[in-house]
């Protein structure tokens, strides 16, 4: 009995001390959204964040097609998810192609993302579940197909 009690104490001590380790990328995203966009990500439950890079080939037709499907208002697959796309102003024309969606687009006007460490050479895709990073990948070349497929949006 005493032995079980000690194990239980040790277990509770470990679990209470355990703190969700935040990756550097999450830390930078939190900082950018909190300080620059006044969005406290910790208060959101489920959400997607897609950071479009300002580099060559970053917004291909495939990427736009995927974003259109993800932000389709009639699609209920991820209706409990908030969808945010951050896009640098030199790539902001992409917005013209994606109208009438439930995606919140943030145009990074003064190239401020990098100041907060959010500087990806390729488009980055993040899924957060219960406020925790659940999945991330580069939304780039063939990865666009595999990410779209993973979320049930075949592009072909």
């Amino acid at each position: 009995m005493r032995r079980y009690f000690i194990i239980l104490i040790v277990f509770f001590t470990i679990t209470s001390c355990y703190k969700h380790k935040v990756s550097e990328e999450e830390e930078h995203l939190n900082m950018y959204f909190k300080e620059k966009q006044n969005i406290d990500l910790s208060k959101l439950d489920n959400y997607f964040i897609i950071v479009i890079s300002g580099n060559c080939g970053s917004c291909t037709e495939k990427t736009i097609k995927f974003l259109k499907q993800l932000g389709n208002k009639r699609d209920t697959k991820f209706s409990d998810y908030k969808k945010i796309v951050v896009i640098p102003s030199n790539n902001a024309e992409v917005l013209d192609s994606i109208k009438n969606s439930n995606i919140q687009f943030i145009v990074d006007e003064g190239f401020e993302m990098e100041k907060f460490g959010v500087n990806f050479q390729r488009n980055a895709f993040f899924e957060f579940k219960n406020s925790r990073l659940f999945y991330k990948d580069w939304l780039y070349l063939d990865n666009v197909d595999s990410i779209a497929k993973k979320y049930g949006y075949p592009l072909k």
Partner: protein
Amino acid sequence: MFKYLLFVFCLFCFICICFISCKNSDQDKYIIKSKFAEDALEYEVKLDSIHIPIKQEDVSIYFTYTQYSENNVDYLLGYSPTTSSIDVFDLTNRTVHKRLSLLSENLSFKNLDKKDLDKSRSVTDISIINFNSIILNYGNDRLIIIDTNLRKKQEISLYGISVKNNMPGRLISYSHEFKMFFYDGQLILNQVYYDFDWVKKVPAFASLNLLNGNLHFLPISYSDYLYKIKGSAGFLTSIVTSEHQKTGFLTYSYLYESNIYQYDPKNSTITSFGATPSKGKNIVDSISYINGDDPKKWVTHHIENSQFFNVMYDQYRHVYYRFSLRNIIQKDGKYFKTILDKPLVLMIFNEKFEIIKEIELPMYKYSPNTWFITKEGLFISPTHRKNKFIDPLHLRFDIIKVYKNKSS
């Protein structure tokens, strides 16, 4: 025990000394220190500016451009990706001269990227013989020669040229790096290889005869330092050239080091000159990249190393100009600095590449790679991406005017 600890300590110190001296040796081995001109104090610099009215939908900055003079009038020809056109400005009379739309079907420009991010669908470079022969490099795939009446005069496949000349690679040019330019009647382009081992030195400059498509390879390659680090200079590996050349010489440099090189075709010699700025790094650190590494590593490398731009000869004042971006530390407390935070430095040299002036330009004012020379002076566009005072209704340039004080 004490002797053992002392031995370990001495060994550690020895390794540290070796490491530090090795670090310095690249600088000492590959970089030539600059000299100051004896008459440097006799030179003065003045700043002037011009503005040309444009429409709201026009661009107020050109990164792909060429400068041309005819009948004592200076022109700027710039590629506007948003309107898919070549915009011609009369700089002397401060007016828009002409807009050449590239959307016309007979010109063969298809699917141009309006954001100018996909360079394979963009005009990467412009050169000009006269208004009857404007050479446009279309995505490093073809050279399309047009006139101001939008007639296509000639179309040259760069791939076809490579095949014809048995070249184990292809020809490229970018307005902001290896800019194509005319030299001795031939068009100079950058020769890149499909298979590059960084062992054997190979030519990087090719001169193209536009009439017969023949290529001639100049004995100019990447510098010894890039071979030593096997090309691992991150984003900073390019050769940089300018269309502003001194007659009889070909002057070039590299993004990754401060030295300036001059090729003399008469005796096939290359002379290297020191052009070290007073602050910052003079040579880029090598950076390894293994598959799977975070690409951010290259960005950090780009920020924390200096970047040396092209060397331009001012035929009117007999001086050379070279801009550079000085290295900074990326981490700034809990924030990060970016390449936009790097100070822009202008160095002015006399014809012997002795320093006349070194000027640190105001932060967040000027955009790199927007400079060119006319008889009025050195033009630069005050359109830094963080400049909050960009006027969308005018094409603006500041003009840096160097002159020798005759009273001295």
